[in-house]
């Protein structure tokens, strides 16, 4: 499935929704302006979302990402719900959201927590530029991302590398977690500045989280 070089505007749920075991989608070089979210991933496999440009998310209002009941609204420009495998989000530019689109990229719990068998495994967030969201630039909400799945034969786990996050209302990068689910996610070569709370904020517990700190 190839979705490339399209323009999206004014679609109040999202430019693209990818759900229910959709596989091998390549979503590249698209633009989004005044949509709800840019993209929503729930239960997808082997997807690439790269070299896309978007701004002003939620500016003209939003519709539910899932109709419910109760209706569920997204909370980010790029939304990663539960159950995604081998998802690459790279080289995208995301600028400015309005509530409820509070975050740039969110591994979110609004669609349910991602515990096995619906865990998110092997998610790579690389070289994205994210600025001016009212919440966080990149956020891994509690108990959603596991980079050390057990009982699998797949390759390396999830990581967040080489992103630039600036001027967001809360944290640049926020790894949340009172449990061990969000631990062991390598964060490397990210640049963060001008974020209102912390540039990088890690409340996860456990070993192996590389290079995070509250700065």
């Amino acid at each position: 499935m190839v979705i490339t070089e399209n323009e999206f505007t004014g679609n109040k749920a999202a430019a693209v929704g990818s759900m229910n075991e959709t596989q091998d989608a390549s979503i590249t070089n698209n633009t989004s302006e005044n949509d709800g979210s840019f993209v929503i991933f729930i239960n997808t496999y082997w997807t690439h979302f790269s070299h896309n440009h978007g701004k002003n998310f939620g500016h003209t209002g939003v519709l539910p990402a899932l109709p419910g009941p109760p209706p569920i609204y997204a909370d980010a420009a790029v939304v990663i719900g539960p159950g995604n495998l081998f998802l690459v989000i790279s080289d995208n530019d995301l600028e400015k959201g309005e509530a409820p689109i509070s975050n740039g990229i969110a591994f979110t719990t609004v669609f349910g927590t991602s515990t096995a068998p619906n865990a998110n495994w092997y998610l790579n967030v690389i070289n994205n530029k994210i600025e001016r969201f009212p919440g966080n630039g990149i956020v891994a909400e509690e108990e959603l991302v596991s980079s050390t799945p057990t009982g699998t034969l797949y390759g390396p786990g999830s990581f967040i590398v080489g992103n630039k996050v600036s001027d967001n209302g809360l944290d640049g990068i926020f790894i949340q977690g009172a449990s061990t689910y969000n631990s062991s996610i390598p964060l490397d070569d990210n640049e963060a500045e001008g974020n209102h709370a912390f540039d990088c904020h890690d409340t996860s517990t456990g070993t192996g989280t590389l290079g995070t700190g509250n700065t």
Partner: protein
């Protein structure tokens, strides 16, 4: 040597591109010793010099129902209040076939507009592999009281190799709804204000549901 530069207006460009497409189809058929595919034209034969047949009544749906796999349907500018179900591997060319929907597509009079308002279904309902939909404006497909699931500007069922190119998809519940299928291409389209279903199954430019 002086270089000769030829500039085509939109109408000539459409006629030219459609004619080239038709010639390509004819040559491909001839090379394989097959009967030449038919070039259907809506609303009339005058739409394009390549036209070989025009349906009566002069609707896209009628042309599609008469077409066989491999045929091409060329649709001239105008508004067509239809819901078109496609059951053959055909190519549908609107008046803006080949022209990127993101660039200089501001004149509705130059568009082939398929408006599904009041139909309670999708504007295009794709039920076959290898269908091409190129160069249309598609609008008015929404879910109020619909007898069919998930109406969209273009609904693609479980069929592969479908191409959605150079279309403006606007003011429907969803621009393109893909259920199953796979290995399809969605390129150079404009998805605008697809929110017509309200809070139920609405608000997406593209929705991929279980696409392998």
């Amino acid at each position: 040597m002086r270089r000769l530069r030829i500039r085509l207006n939109d109408q000539k460009r459409f006629v030219c591109s459609a004619a080239m497409a038709a010639v390509f189809v004819l040559l491909a058929g001839g090379a394989n010793g097959l009967a030449a595919p038919t070039v259907w034209c809506v609303p009339s034969l005058s739409v394009n010099p390549s036209c070989t047949m025009a349906p009566t009544p002069h609707t896209i749906s009628k042309a599609v129902s008469l077409a066989s796999s491999g045929d091409t349907i060329i649709v001239g500018p105008g508004t067509y209040n239809e819901s078109v179900t496609i059951n053959a591997a055909i190519t549908l060319l609107g008046a803006q076939a080949g022209n990127d929907a993101r660039v200089n597509r501001h004149d509705p009079a130059k568009e082939s507009t398929v408006d599904a308002t009041g139909k309670g279904s999708s504007a295009f309902y794709v039920h076959e592999e290898s269908v091409v939909i190129d160069g249309f404006t598609v609008e008015g497909a929404h879910s109020y009281g619909s007898p069919t699931p998930y109406p969209a500007g273009i609904y693609v069922g479980s069929y592969k190799y479908v191409q959605v190119l150079n279309n403006i998809l606007q003011n429907s519940s969803t621009g393109v709804y893909q259920y199953g299928g796979g290995q399809d291409v969605i390129e150079h389209n404009l998805f605008r204000n697809n929110n017509e279903g309200g809070e139920v199954d609405s608000g997406y430019g593209i929705f991929l549901n279980g696409v392998p």
